[in-house]
């Protein structure tokens, strides 16, 4: 019996590996997705090793002698109206922007996944109540609700993550619930039930692994828009606060300077946001095509 179980586990592992390899092969075929992945890796590396590239002090140290300078050898991307180095701000801002995009997505997937799985699996009253609340929350304009939450909790990084998670969780709950609903009708779930497997074990070992594909697709398509929403909230001053470097907040600072013709303050953070969102979108599209070949032609 022990031997059989070990054999079964080995075969399952092999199958998973095979599936991952196949997904990776399909992903690699997609040139745009690979390009996106390359940019994304660069951004992640910059965020991880920000302190090695340029010290954090450069991003917040004010220097009145070099206010609003254009790009030069000393300041690669120029300086802002307080004389802070824009390059250093971009490099260190990458940490916040990427954390906001990826962190909120992971958080919403975990929370939405658990609630959605419970609703889909057990149904009944719990399901009805949760779905009703989701309906209500989804009727409130998302950005407005996030604004109210940030205002209630106070504008900073953690609260911004909480606010964006709250507005995105309902849609995750819905997607995951509908996926789970289609899975619990499958024969292998009946088989597991017949074997006397506990509900928790069924959810964790049989239902969730099979629901992973659609969940990953939904999440990867959303990372970029979460990042843009976070940047947007910082832009209107309801997110990461000065002097902490963040791309959205930098663009807000750039508004007045731009009208005086200081274009570099607008372009560098803007391009940084757009480029990272583009890379996330391309990777998301590639993952969707690789995981769900049905959508491909």
């Amino acid at each position: 019996m022990k031997h059989l179980q070990r054999e079964h586990a080995r075969r399952k592992r092999d199958m998973r590996r095979e599936h991952a390899r196949e997904t990776w092969r399909l992903f690699c075929k997609n040139k745009a997705a690979l390009f996106g992945l390359a940019i994304l890796v660069i951004f992640v590396l910059v965020a991880l090793f920000a302190d090695l590239i340029v010290p954090y002090e450069n991003a917040i140290a004010q220097d009145a002698s070099v206010r609003l300078d254009g790009p030069s050898a000393a300041h690669l991307f120029g300086t802002d109206k307080y004389g802070r180095d824009v390059f250093a701000q971009i490099v260190h801002g990458s940490r916040r922007s990427l954390t906001l995009g990826i962190g909120t997505t992971l958080l919403s997937v975990v929370i939405g996944g658990l609630i959605g799985a419970l609703c889909g699996f057990y149904g009944g009253k719990l399901d009805a109540i949760v779905m009703r609340i989701c309906d209500i929350v989804m009727c409130i304009p998302a950005l407005l609700f996030a604004l109210a939450v940030v205002a209630a909790l106070g504008a900073d990084m953690i609260n911004l993550i909480i606010a964006i998670t709250i507005i995105s969780v309902p849609s995750y709950i819905r997607v995951i619930r509908s996926v789970i609903l289609s899975i619990v009708e499958q024969d292998y779930i009946y088989a597991a039930r017949l074997c006397g497997t506990s509900n928790w074990k069924i959810i964790l070992h049989h239902v969730l692994p099979n629901a992973m594909g659609p969940i990953i697709v939904q999440a990867s398509m959303n990372v970029a828009s979460m990042m843009l929403t976070a940047a947007g909230l910082s832009f209107i001053g309801m997110g990461v606060q000065q002097p902490t470097p963040e791309w959205g907040a930098m663009l807000n600072e750039a508004r007045d300077s731009m009208l005086d013709g200081h274009l570099h303050l607008l372009l560098f953070p803007g391009v940084a946001i757009a480029l990272s969102a583009l890379s996330l979108n391309l990777v998301g599209d590639g993952l969707r095509d690789a995981l769900d070949p049905r959508l491909k032609s």
Partner: protein, 309 residues
């Protein structure tokens, strides 16, 4: 059908009550009181308490909640804590700006998005398709506030064709509408392309081809009618989110609409204004969603059969 619409309208009441309760609770979690925000840090505690009492803010949470709901039922949307201005008057002044912005960009993005999506799907892998799809993913990645600022710089500052901020004439709407339209067009275009590609692979399309239907008839009558349903949902959501997106767009272009009004209200803990604005915007969103469902029933006889039964 009429019965279905009435049922949906009635169901809107508990939803709206839920929304009011959630937002009211969130707004009351905010640290500080409106009195302190209005008078500033220099005022004494007595002055702050006095003002809070005048505003009725010192009453218990539930009393204020029920009071607000009661006023709302009588059509009284409340008065601003900050300016003491009547909300309804303010709404009349500001709503047209946001509506013009929203409707213009909704109409433009729907027309552009659907037609470009069909073009991409019908001529898959052609130059037009590649161009549209590449541009789409590019614009999906550019945040509206950055795009708006670039537009201001190029067309407002450098070329001087449009005003750089404010204003209520036709010209001052052009850049904001373009900004909002571009990001929404992308969503509609991408979805239309996907659903159209799925539709043209179905058996009934093959049947239509075998019958000898013309290509345009197949595209417009057989494929589009089936592909359009998910697109309508997304268009509805877009129309709703235009209201939320207006907050950022109006900030960039300094337009005196609902967006900038709500933002100021949230910042200064102006609870009546935040509440009533949320109610108005959510109401619009709910009505749009009902319209979407009714449209579903009009377009798809299968759904019509289900809802009218």
């Amino acid at each position: 059908m009429l019965k279905y619409i009435c049922k949906r309208l009635l169901l809107m009441i508990p939803t709206l009550l839920g929304i009011i309760f959630i937002v009211f609770t969130v707004m009351n979690l905010t640290p500080g009181s409106p009195g302190r925000t209005i008078l500033g840090t220099t005022a004494t505690q007595e002055q702050v308490d006095q003002l809070n009492h005048e505003l009725g803010y010192d009453r218990p949470f539930l009393v204020r909640f029920l009071d607000y709901c009661g006023d709302l039922l009588q059509g009284d949307m409340g008065t601003s804590y900050r300016t003491r201005a009547d909300f309804t008057t303010e709404l009349k002044g500001r709503m047209p700006t946001t509506l013009k912005l929203g409707i213009a960009s909704f109409v433009l993005s729907s027309i552009l998005g659907i037609s470009l999506g069909i073009l991409s799907a019908v001529k898959q892998y052609s130059f037009a398709d590649t161009f549209c799809s590449t541009t789409a993913i590019l614009f999906a990645s550019i945040p509206g506030f950055f795009l708006g600022m670039v537009l201001i710089y190029v067309f407002g500052l450098q070329l001087g064709w449009f005003p750089t901020f404010g204003g209520t004439d036709f010209k001052s709407y052009v850049l904001p509408v373009i900004t909002l339209t571009l990001s929404n067009t992308v969503i509609v275009q991408r979805l239309t392309r996907t659903t159209m590609l799925e539709a043209v692979r179905q058996d009934y399309i093959r049947t239509a081809k075998a019958k000898g239907c013309s290509k345009s008839r197949i595209t417009w009558k057989h494929a589009l009618k089936n592909a359009i349903l998910p697109v309508i949902t997304v268009m509805g959501i877009n129309a709703g989110s235009v209201m939320g997106g207006a907050v950022i767009c109006e900030t960039v272009f300094s337009l005196p609409g609902m967006g900038t009004y709500i933002l100021t209200a949230i910042r200064s803990k102006d609870i009546p204004v935040v509440m009533s604005s949320t109610v108005v915007l959510s109401l619009i969103f709910c009505v749009i969603m009902i319209l979407v469902d009714v449209l579903y029933a009009v377009i798809d006889p299968r759904i019509r059969e289900r809802v009218t039964r």
